[in-house]
């Protein structure tokens, strides 16, 4: 009975080799973290960092009696913000639909040329934040609502395009084949075979993006693209933290309402 001796008393989940590998991985991650931390904090002025609690208390104290009298003045910019989000979403969706049809494997007219172009448009739009789009557009077409709308629209193309082309690729082939079997042309297959299948997804994605856009359009004013962010920027620049607090509460309220509306609408659609 010598075989029983080879069993370890304590159960181990992994073999020693695997444990060593995992352990090396963790050590490498810690080393990478320490190295990055040193690179990052090279120029940090620690006096400012240690001073932070005092600064926080100062800002908090200045926020206190909230400047509610500022609220009526904010209604115009809030209307602008909602318009930026809504018109931007509409513009983005209109541009995203053809891109999505070009990017989906089952509807693209040419998989070698047009599909990579469409995919690049989607990736470029998704990887650049709407604030950066706004920064560029304010420099190009000047400050104002139009820059915000175009920024939101350009940013939405990637999101809507990606989700929509995935929905198109997941459509049921048999329905499309059935429509095609009646002798329908390409456009008829599109309108009677594919569009009805992706319609709920389309509306769901659009409403979801509108909700995100409300959130994003509240801050576009920081770079001059109109809306309530302009007021926020002005209040921050004059260090009137009591006004900043009111604006932030209003933004928070708007975001909560838009989230509720979008959840309701999506539940009604899907």
């Amino acid at each position: 009975m010598t075989t029983t001796d080879t069993y370890s008393a304590v159960w181990q989940r992994r073999t020693p080799r695997k444990r060593l590998l995992i352990w090396t991985g963790w050590v490498a991650l810690v080393a990478l973290f320490v190295w990055c931390w040193q690179l990052m904090t090279e120029n940090t002025i620690w006096a400012f960092v240690t001073d932070a609690p005092r600064q926080a208390a100062d800002i908090g104290a200045r926020m206190w009696p909230l400047e509610w009298g500022y609220l009526p003045e904010l209604m115009g910019p809030l209307w602008d913000t909602i318009n930026i989000a809504t018109l931007g979403t509409i513009g983005g969706v209109i541009m995203a639909v053809p891109v999505a049809f070009l990017a989906a494997r089952n509807t693209t007219p040419s998989a070698t040329i047009l599909r990579p172009i469409a995919l690049f448009i989607i990736v470029a739009s998704r990887s650049i934040n709407s604030l950066i789009w706004a920064l560029l557009l304010v420099a190009i077409i000047g400050p104002g609502l139009l820059a915000g709308i175009v920024a939101i629209a350009l940013r939405s193309i990637g999101f809507v395009g990606k989700l929509l082309y995935e929905a198109i690729e997941e459509t049921d082939r048999r329905q499309i084949e059935a429509v095609r079997a009646t002798g329908a042309g390409g456009l008829q297959v599109l309108t009677y075979g594919i569009v009805p299948q992706i319609m709920p997804a389309f509306w769901g994605i659009s409403v979801f993006r509108w909700d995100i856009n409300i959130r994003e359009s509240t801050i576009l004013g920081l770079v001059g693209a109109g809306g309530i962010g302009l007021k926020l920027n002005a209040s921050i620049n004059t260090l009137s933290w009591d006004e900043v607090a009111v604006i932030l509460l209003l933004i928070l309220g708007t975001v909560v309402v838009s989230e509720w509306v979008s959840a309701k609408l999506r539940r009604a659609i899907i």
Partner: protein, 267 residues
């Protein structure tokens, strides 16, 4: 027996069946659009003047200039990348306890409410607004950015982790508990193995998101490539700005494909 079949067919409406409601909604939308576009103030002369500048920007995008501002660009990139990694690591470390605390099936009620409210605050505030406050408190530079991204990571990761823990197989928890395991042993041997693959996947995804965000928060002074981009645009150096944007797009693409490959490899 000759029944006359209709020769034309109109597709029935798909979402809203009642015709009256449909027309009402269409009318409301048209009215809103008219009012919204009516209140839109656009300085078309300025837009026309800007189109020439837009052309120059497009030209800069096609002929990016990586060289003349390379010092600034590389410093911004290093700041962004280091900020991304450190904030993701710290954010994940912080969000694991918060996430466990916010799972209603393994945490006691008071801790559950505390952790859920931490998550709610972190999710409600946008990165850029947190960054404004943290820059005011901690001074300009990547340290404020690091704190911003760490805080934002908690809201994202802790929520998804908590939701995941709430959906685990209760049988395994029951089995481990019936061996006489303590709470820690229960978390370690029955919860952690079930959520670990997803936690790793979400952390990699968040790494990707944190890099994108690090490009933005520089605009309000929190360091990183966003600050460099902002400067380049302010100086009207569109060729440098184009180079920075191309770098951001390239890194985001690499990060996206890399993290999706890694996630597939790990699961």
């Amino acid at each position: 027996m000759s029944t006359s079949y209709p020769t034309t067919w109109r597709r029935p409406p798909q979402l809203i069946k009642s015709a009256r409601l449909r027309y009402a909604i269409q009318f409301a939308i048209a009215l809103y659009l008219a009012v919204a576009i009516g209140t839109l103030e656009v300085d078309w002369a300025r837009v026309a003047a800007g189109l020439e500048r837009g052309g120059r920007f497009a030209a800069g995008f096609l002929q990016p200039d990586f060289v003349s501002r390379w010092d600034d660009i590389s410093r911004g990139l290093v700041e962004s990348l280091t900020m991304t990694l450190t904030s993701t690591v710290v954010g994940v470390l912080l969000s694991v306890p918060v996430g466990i605390g916010a799972a209603s099936n393994i945490a006691p009620a008071p801790i559950y409410f505390v952790c859920r409210s931490i998550i709610a605050v972190s999710r409600a505030l946008q990165e850029i607004i947190i960054a404004i406050f943290l820059v005011a408190m901690f001074g300009f530079g990547p340290f404020a950015g690091f704190l911003t991204l760490s805080f934002a990571t908690i809201g994202f990761l802790a929520k998804l982790l908590a939701d995941d823990i709430e959906e685990i197989e209760p049988g395994q928890v029951e089995a481990v508990r019936s061996t006489g395991a303590s709470w820690w042993q229960m978390v370690n041997y029955s919860v952690q193995p079930q959520v670990m693959p997803r936690l790793i996947g979400l952390s990699l995804y968040r790494l990707d998101i944190n890099f994108r965000e690090s490009a933005v928060i520089g605009i309000v002074g929190a360091g990183g490539i966003g600050a460099t981009l902002n400067t380049a645009i302010d100086r009207y150096e569109y060729d440098s700005a184009g180079a920075i944007l191309l770098l951001i797009i390239a890194i985001v693409m690499v990060a996206e494909y890399g993290s999706s490959y890694l996630r597939k490899f790990l699961q």
